[in-house]
């Protein structure tokens, strides 16, 4: 008994602590993943135990499907908007908070607070209060003071105002979180570097930022950029809550996860086709992430 409970029995304690999590990972992640790959080779309408093997048909029809390719374009447009804007805004906030001498903790909290808000709640506030399309919506009320007509923000495709709503809600929600990452990076930069630069005659402001701060933030910047792209791929909550209604989802601004949700789990219940789409999407995310990491030189030893 003593031997079993003793500190020396490391194998036992390893499994006591790691076992439950490993089991959870296997049951809730690896088994569904493997099952999804299995389903993708079958005609699996309304069933998770299909019998009609159809080979790669689901993959070819998914790749030929305009709705799926359009959803990838939606993702590309969304990340083209959201990645640089969040990056610049969170960096600017971090620089500002880092420099402030008074109320730093207060400002950090204020900017970080939105990160604690649910995507669903924020999306509904944006949709129902700020950007609703009638005359008493906040945005329309403000524009009305200047004589502008009411705008249906989420229903207008020409110009595509819905992007403004989608991007601003995510920007508000996540800029504070990345600000904290940048702040941590900023605080790791040694003050002696700035002192040495000052001695060498570097002008504070742009010159110091360009030649000292940004190169020192390289590792943080790469991590932030990678996380932003992966998060953009996973976009679902705000799109779904902003744009869907009881009759479905419009064909525009439909990111891959929303499309796959409707195909596999919506009324269509085509679990085979949805699984094929999920596998394709996972491969695309992996390729993009690895490519981006190599391009940034992540993991390469510093010269």
């Amino acid at each position: 008994m003593r031997r079993v409970l003793g500190t020396q029995n490391r194998t036992l304690w390893f499994w006591v602590f790691v076992g439950p999590f490993a089991l959870g990972l296997i049951v809730f992640t690896y088994v569904p993943l493997a099952w999804s790959v299995y389903l993708s080779f079958f005609d699996a309408h309304n069933t998770v135990s299909p019998t009609d093997f159809i080979g790669f048909d689901n993959y070819t029809s998914m790749l030929r499907n305009d709705a799926f390719t359009d959803s990838l374009v939606t993702f590309a447009v969304f990340s083209a908007f959201i990645v640089p804007t969040t990056f610049v805004l969170s960096l600017a906030l971090a620089l500002m908070v880092n420099r402030t001498r008074r109320g730093q903790a207060f400002l950090r909290s204020v900017f970080f607070l939105p990160a604690a808000c649910s995507y669903v709640v924020a999306a509904l506030i944006w949709k129902l209060s700020i950007f609703n399309g009638v005359r008493f919506g906040l945005a329309n009320t403000v524009l009305g003071w200047f004589g502008a007509d009411q705008t249906a923000w989420l229903s207008t495709t020409d110009p595509p105002w819905y992007w403004l709503v989608i991007v601003t809600v995510r920007l508000w929600l996540q800029a504070g979180f990345y600000m904290i990452l940048f702040l941590a990076g900023l605080q790791r930069i040694s003050p002696t570097l700035y002192e040495a630069a000052a001695v060498d005659g570097a002008r504070p402001g742009w010159q110091v930022l360009r030649h000292i701060t940004l190169p020192q933030l390289r590792a943080t910047s790469i991590a932030v950029a990678l996380l932003l792209v992966i998060n953009a791929f996973q976009a679902f909550d705000e799109f779904y809550n902003l744009l869907s209604n009881s009759s479905g989802y419009p064909p525009y601004a439909r990111p891959p996860l929303v499309y796959l949700y409707y195909t596999a789990l919506g009324r269509e219940q085509n679990l085979g086709l949805g699984s094929a789409g999920a596998v394709l999407l996972a491969l695309i995310i992996a390729v993009v992430t690895v490519g981006q990491a190599r391009w940034f030189g992540l993991g390469r030893k510093e010269d």
Binding site: G137, D158, G248, Y252
Partner: protein, 418 residues
């Protein structure tokens, strides 16, 4: 921090209770307490006050089984579709279907035998989409329909008469649009979801013909859908309202002069506007067209994976075939629906005068039911195309050509199944 054994056990017990909540299938809590097996019954969330208490009261009155009612908010169709894949789903559930795939996969039980002697008393238009291969797969509970509400005073002020054709509707919506009030509300998506295939029927076409062929491979379809684009381009449509087309708020709050909504909204509209409103079907388009509106019904189905199929069938027969008093109460005492049984609909006083009487008449003269062969995949392809036609001004002919191809492929797929 040290965790005592008592704290650990307490936390474990609390987690256990939470897990129990998560796997609640309706078999516990809110149940009838009747003798016999436990059955779970699911309903989608109705907005009308009193409806939930009513269905719980009906379940409690059943003595041969202990029926637990679950009132499920959120995406009900998705919830039931996923639950039917498992053994822990409902025994009896309300369904806006079932879909052809659910029937072909054997997810629902054949209920044909329950209709013996009463089949002719069910509205045939809504029984048709519940019938496949000569068998009936769900018992219609109530008949619902969509229609066009218009505000009499606003039309009179603008010198506009209730429209009799789609062209007149386009003109009326334009004439009724002012800086503060829009002419027409067809939903925040411009009508793609709410109107769906109704314009095809208004043009004298259909989604799928009785022979199982595509029913809108015809130039008239493109012409009619082009007129919905006209409404959008004229800026006559209300868009971005806080609640969507199924809620009459935009109409009763004066944001729009006309609105496409459901029969269920009639009491709320009457309460807000008195007699200052009328109802219409979607007006006809073209020489071969006729006014049109969709009728459908939520129905009671029995899951094939439930452990008590026979008892569940006995229960649905008792509730939706034998107990006509409950059926009448459910249809007319809370929201506003037409009873699914012709004999009950005929004697319902509330349906005998005013706009309600008009609505009932339209449902028999102009109503169509979405065919069973119009699968969810076909519906999505069509609605996407309609949305692009309305909002982006996409070419109706080429959009419809691509939808016809997709619908043909879907029809071939489902016809191959046993």
């Amino acid at each position: 921090m040290t965790i005592s054994r008592r704290t650990l056990l307490g936390t474990g017990a609390a987690l256990g209770q939470l897990t129990a909540c998560g796997s609640n299938t309706g078999r516990d809590g809110g149940s009838s307490g009747g003798s016999g097996p436990k059955l779970s019954q699911w309903y989608h969330q109705y907005g009308e006050p009193g409806a939930e208490q009513a269905v719980k009261r009906y379940a409690a009155a059943y003595k041969k089984a202990d029926v637990g009612v679950q009132w499920r908010p959120g995406n009900y169709d998705e919830q039931t579709a996923a639950a039917l894949l498992t053994d822990s789903g409902p025994d009896v559930f309300e369904v806006n279907g079932p879909t052809l795939d659910q029937i072909q996969r054997g997810q629902v039980v054949d209920l044909t035998g329950l209709f013996e002697g009463v089949k002719d008393d069910f509205n045939p238009v809504i029984l048709a989409p519940k019938t496949y291969d000569g068998k009936i797969w769900a018992i219609p509970q109530v008949v619902d329909m969509h229609l066009l509400y218009y505000r009499k005073s606003l039309l009179a002020d603008a010198g506009v008469k209730p429209p009799k054709s789609l062209d007149e509707l386009v003109d009326a919506a334009k004439a009724l649009t002012t800086k503060k009030v829009k002419g027409l509300f067809l939903g925040n998506d411009g009508g793609a979801g709410a109107l769906a295939i109704t314009p095809l029927y208004a043009a004298g076409l259909s989604s799928v013909t009785e022979d199982g062929e595509v029913g809108f491979d015809d130039p008239a379809a493109a012409r009619t859908l082009g007129k919905l684009r006209q409404l959008y381009a004229d800026k006559s449509l209300l868009l971005g309202a806080p609640s969507d087309w199924s809620d009459p708020s935009a109409f009763t709050q004066g944001l729009t002069a006309m609105q496409w909504c459901g029969l269920w909204a009639l009491p709320a509209v009457k309460k807000a506007l008195g007699d200052d409103f009328g109802v219409l079907a979607l007006p006809a388009d073209g020489a071969d067209g006729k006014p049109s509106l969709p009728v459908g019904s939520y129905a009671a189905a029995v899951s094939a994976r439930g452990g008590h199929r026979k008892e569940a069938k006995d229960f649905v027969k008792w509730l939706w075939i034998d107990r006509t008093d409950y059926q009448e109460d459910f249809a007319l005492s809370y929201g506003f629906h037409i009873p699914a049984r012709l004999s009950l609909a005929k004697k319902a006083d509330k349906l005998k005068e005013g706009p309600a009487a008009d609505a009932v008449r339209y449902s028999t003269e102009y109503g169509y039911a979405e065919p069973l062969l119009w699968t969810p995949a076909s519906r999505t392809a069509y609605q996407d195309a309609l949305s692009r036609i309305i909002k982006s001004g996409a070419n109706p002919e080429s959009e419809l050509k691509s939808v016809v191809r997709k619908v043909r492929a879907e029809l071939d797929r489902v016809k191959k199944k046993p």
